[in-house]
Every structure is written in C-alpha cells, then in structure tokens.
C-alpha cells in the first residue's frame, strides 16, 4: 500500500515518455541542429560545409538594410498588430465576461472556430473576399462607398488584417480569464465612490486585468513576430518579415546556415523584447497587484 504513490509516479512518467520523446525529437534536437548549422559555411549553388564561422550572423547583423528593413520592420509589424489585437479583443472579452448561458457558448464557438478551420483555408477564403475584384470591393463599389477597388491582398494591409484576425481569439481568451477573475463588487465599489463607468473601468478593471493583457500580448507578439505563413500567402512576394525570410532562405534558396542564423536572431530578439516587456509590466503593475488577483 505504501508503495502506491511511487508506483503511480513511475506510471505517470512512463506514460509521458512518448510526449517527451516527441518534444526532444522535434523541438529540442532541431533547435540544437539549427544553432550548429548557423555556424556552417554556405556554398552558393551547392549546399554547405561544416565549419565554425560567424559569416551568417555578420551577413544579417552587419547590414543596415537587414537590421532596419527586416528586424525593425518586423518588430514594428508585430507591435502594431499586437496593439490592434488588444484594442479589438478587450471590448469583446468585457462583453463575454458579462453574458452567460447559451449566448456565451455561441460567442465562444464563433471565436474559436477559426482556430479549428486551419490557416490555409482561412487565408484563401479571405483572398476571395478581399482581393481587388472580391466580394468586399464589389459590394462597397456597388453601394458607392468607394470609386476604385482597394487592394487588400499581396501587400502589408492584408498581412496586418489577417495577423490581427488570427490573434484576436488568443488575446480574448487570456483577457476573458483575467476579467472574470475580477470580483464585480470591486467595480461596484468604485461606482459608489462616485466613479463613472468609464473611470471605474480605467482605475479598476483595466489595471486588474493587466496580467491577462500581458499574457495575451506576449502570445500574440511572439506569434506575429515569427509569422511566415500569413505574409507568404497574403503578403507581397518580397515582404521583408523575418520569419518569412528565414523560411525562404531555407526552403527556396537552400541557404540553411543563413536561415539558421536568422532563426536564432529572431528567437533571441523575441526573447529579449518579451523579457523587457515583462520587466516594464512588473514595475508598473504586478508588484502592486501581487497575489491578490
């Protein structure tokens, strides 16, 4: 009888071996391989040669064009889309925190459906709606709202719209969790202390939901900063987003060492930005909210 917990621990470990193996085989091992390859020497027109050279990093970090037009540009896109996503998701999360019963289930289903459908079908559906002669432009023109079709596809406009659209469910879910944790009497207490609904929101709901806002921003930023499928499908052919660039170097140009260095730079940049963000949030909000939320 006394050995039961140990037996259970062993059993739990045994059962988690397949998942751990998958993680090791398809996440950790490739990552190690990418780090190693990023120091290889690429051979134009051929493949690459094992070596320990910094050329691939210098090629990216030593070029003003790469730094400004790829790294900074991608950061700007990711920050912009994260902010837009938060602005769209917050009211939705507030509303969902308020409704109950079947209305909430319907909203949840509608919100999560895109995650189940898959990015490729979604993007092609979007292309049908948004392209120059697509449904949206045709309708707007027929209604006389616009004179000429607005181009949403194969430029940054489409990339940003689609990234925001994909980010909204993630952001809404984390925000909803944070908002639902706020005791309604905290907002009532603000109102009885003369705060208008807007002031009560700014002074109570918003600061108390920052943990959810923070988590949602981290997820959406990390996804969008490394995005390659969306710019590949709806962006211009030469969209200089860093994830797409790494993909192209690896899959189209066959320059694995350079693709590896871009991937490593991307990962490090993302980590640095998120750590910096968490530091700022900690200083501004979390130390004060503490464990009470």
């Amino acid at each position: 009888m006394f050995t039961l917990p140990v037996t259970r621990g062993r059993l739990a470990f045994a059962l988690s071996v397949p998942a751990l193996t998958l993680l090791l085989a398809f996440v950790v091992a490739p990552l190690i391989w990418i780090v190693r390859v990023s120091f290889y020497e690429p051979i134009a027109g051929a493949y690459m040669r094992p070596a320990w050279v910094l050329d691939n990093y210098v090629q990216f970090l030593g070029s003003v064009w790469h730094l400004q037009n790829v790294l900074i540009f991608t950061i700007e896109v990711a920050v912009l889309t994260t902010i837009l996503t938060a602005l769209l998701a917050y009211p939705l999360a507030m509303y969902m925190a308020r409704v109950e019963g079947w209305a909430k289930r319907v909203l949840m289903t509608v919100m999560l459906a895109p995650l189940l459908i898959g990015l490729v079908s979604l993007s092609y559906g979007w292309i049908v709606i948004f392209r120059g002669g697509g449904v949206l432009n045709a309708t707007a023109q027929a209604l006389g709202l616009i004179d000429a079709p607005i181009q949403y596809m194969y430029n940054m406009r489409g990339v940003i719209i689609l990234l925001v659209y994909i980010g909204v469910p993630y952001m809404t879910l984390t925000l909803l969790d944070a908002i639902e944790r706020i005791n309604p009497s905290l907002v009532e207490a603000a109102k009885i202390c003369r705060a208008s609904p807007w002031v009560a929101f700014v002074k109570i709901t918003l600061p108390l939901s920052t943990p959810g806002l923070y988590a949602g921003c981290c997820v959406v930023f990390a996804l969008n900063f490394s995005a390659f499928a969306v710019p590949l499908m709806v962006g211009a052919p030469n969209t200089p987003m860093i994830g797409l660039m790494a993909y192209r170097q690896a899959m189209e140009i066959n320059n694995f060492p350079f693709a590896g260095s871009i991937a490593i730079i991307m990962t490090v940049a993302s980590a640095v930005i998120l750590i910096g963000f968490s530091g700022v949030m900690n200083k501004l909000f979390f130390t004060r909210i503490g464990k009470a939320v």
């Binding site: 005791n183 009497s185 905290l186 009532e188 207490a189 603000a190 109102k191 009885i192 202390c193 003369r194 705060a195 208008s196 609904p197 002031v199 009560a200 002074k203 109570i204 600061p207 108390l208 909000f285 004060r288 909210i289 503490g290 464990k291 009470a292 939320v293």
Partner: protein, 360 residues
C-alpha cells in the same frame, strides 16, 4: 465639499420582480436622519436586493426611493452620494489603504491638501493611521473591514449602507467590530441602513429594526419592541430559541386566554387579540422568561416537571424541563448558585405576559 443633503430615506411601494421571482414587494419604509436601521431577515428575504436598489445597482420594477426628499430611483450609483460597505469589503488590491480611502476624494477633484487631511482624519477615526501604506492583502480581516468603513465615510455621505459587513469575521471580532461601528456611527451621525441575518447583531446595534420575509416588510420597531412583542410568529421564530406548544383556547376572560395544550397542560396567556374559543394556537415561550423553583409558588402557570438535559454555557445554564403531561420547555437561568442536575424535580413558573399566542 459634498452638498449638505439631508440623510433621510423614504422608500415608497418599492418592488423588484424578476421573471419568475419577486425579490421585493411593495416595500414602504422611512428611515430618519441619523438613524441606525437594520434590515433583518433570512437569506432570500429581499434585504440585499433592497440595499442594492438603494445603492443603484438594481433598478426597481416599481416604486421610488427618496433621499432627503429627492427621488434618486433612476440615478446611476455614482450620482447617488451614498456610502456602501460590502460584505467582502471589496477593497482594491492594487491600491494602498491610503489610496483606497482617497479614491472618491480624488474623483471629486479635491485639492491634494484637502484629500491628505481628510484621509488622515478618517484613518485616525478608524484606528488605521499606522497602516496607510499597506496593501489590503497585508491586513487582517478586521483591519480590512475598517478600511472598507473608512472608504465609505471619507466622502461624508449623508447615508451609509452596510451589507452584512461582519459576516466574514470570527465571533469575537464580530462582537468587537459591531461596537466599533455603532460608536463610529453615533460619532459622525450618518444615517445607516444595516443589512444582516444575525438577529443578535440587529438587536445590539439598531435604533430600529425592519424585519423582512419573502420580499415583504413584516415588522418594524425598536429592538425591545420587536423582541417583547413580535406580533408575527415569523418574527418570534427569528428572534431566538424558544419552546412552542400546540394548544386550543378553552376560555377568554378580560385579556387573558386560558389555553390547553395537546398534552392537557393548562396555561393562562395574554390574549393579544385572540378571542375565539376553540381557536387552535401555538404558544411560544422564551427560555429566559421561565422561572425555575424548588417549590410551588402561588402564581398562575406554576407546574412541575423534571430536568431533562443540562447545557452549562458559562454565564447562563440551559435546561430542558419535561412537564408532567409530557410537554418539554426550554429554560435558561443565570449561572447563580448550584445548577440543577438531570432528573431534579423543579417547579416552572411563566407569567401570562411572557408567552406569545399565534393562530395556527
């Protein structure tokens, strides 16, 4: 400063109906300037809904609420100039004690010096001045309770509502805090509506008590009025433990009714309006109104019995007394002299005015 509104409340025909449930029905109640009035009743009786309608969180289905003669029934909470102490305190976890208390004053755009002065004064009044920089999670339950109180009075509202503010505290602290709240209320003279389900709390603190049941006001009066003359069986039940005997009125003389319990015990009881002979009634007897003696005395309602159980509670001793016919009475005596033991033979005496008759 806040406008000097009178702190009287008038509730007129107030109702709150939900689709399949009436929470409050036709409530009429007047609360005087400076009064401490408790809304007392079991859970679901409508007392909290009434408080939430006064605060503006729940819109009444019918009726009006007048504060200082002004109809506030349709005003949003932030325009009502009312203080509220929540059951769970509802302190803002991301603000210090100082910031919690100063919140309303900052919204009222008071100058910094006025805010500092006012908050300092309120914190002294509530014995919190040494805790101004603490966060709520760093405070004990009683301290959090006092912050909630300080926050409610900081804006000098003419009215303060309290929603079972002591129900989350342990008994000792609850008794201490109810004295503290009552003294504070007396000092600042703010009209207070206090919602509770604890009859002891209501009796100890209130100028008047309004007892509610199933959405309606059942009885309104001072604590001693209500305790000594409950008028409704519900009120008598709610006011504490007592024995209930089923009986029939066998004769009525002047204002005394002679009743016979199902076991044949004959009791003379103040009739309180019951005149019909043969009327089935329930006789309520409060344990502390029963006199226990070792010998028979020449008074009405003197019967003999034996002690069934003994509960020694310290200040008082509780007995159950099995009367000759089989009726059982709960009796409570001060802890003076040697208590009775199980099986002791005693004489029970109850004055006719110390029992309540209710029609069945």
């Amino acid at each position: 400063m806040t406008t000097p509104l009178s702190g009287s409340i008038r509730i007129e025909d107030l109702s709150k109906k939900y689709r399949d449930f009436t929470a409050v029905e036709g409530l009429n109640l007047e609360i005087r300037q400076g009064e401490f009035l408790s809304l007392l009743g079991p859970s679901g009786c409508g007392k909290t809904t009434t408080l939430r309608m006064l605060a503006g969180f729940v819109a009444p289905t019918e009726g009006h609420i007048l504060v200082g003669g002004v109809d506030v029934s349709r005003l949003p909470p932030h325009k009502r100039n009312i203080g509220l102490v929540f059951q769970n305190y509802a302190l803002w976890p991301h603000m210090t004690v100082y910031q919690n208390v100063a919140f309303g004053l900052k919204i009222a755009k008071q100058p910094r010096s006025v805010i500092d002065q006012k908050v300092a004064a309120v914190l002294v009044l509530t014995n919190l001045d040494h805790l101004a920089d603490r966060y709520p999670r760093e405070l004990s339950g009683g301290q959090q309770q006092r912050v909630a109180l300080a926050r409610a009075i900081a804006l000098d509202p003419p009215i303060i509502l309290m929603d079972e503010p002591l129900s989350n505290l342990d008994r000792k602290l609850r008794v201490a805090m109810r004295k503290e709240i009552k003294e504070l209320q007396r000092k600042i003279g703010t009209t207070t509506l206090y919602v509770t389900h604890d009859q002891e709390e209501a009796l100890a603190m209130s100028d008047r008590i309004a007892i509610m049941n199933k959405g309606k006001l059942v009885r309104l009066g001072s604590p001693s009025d209500i305790y000594n003359d409950p008028r409704h069986e519900f009120v008598a039940d709610f006011m504490g433990d007592h024995s209930v005997l089923e009986a029939i009125v066998s004769s009525v003389r002047d204002d005394l009714a002679l009743t016979t319990t199902t076991s044949g015990l004959r009791l003379e009881v103040l009739a309180r309006g019951i005149t019909s002979i043969g009327q089935r009634v329930r006789v309520h007897v409060r344990p502390e109104r029963i006199k226990l003696m070792d010998y028979k005395v020449d008074e009405p309602n003197s019967v003999t019995g034996s002690i069934g159980f003994v509960e020694f509670l310290g200040a008082v001793v509780r007995y159950s007394v099995e009367l000759e016919g089989g009726d059982i009475l709960l009796a409570e005596t001060q802890n003076v002299g040697a208590p009775y033991a199980i099986g002791d033979r005693v004489w029970v005496t109850i004055a006719p005015s110390d029992m309540f008759l209710f029609r069945v």
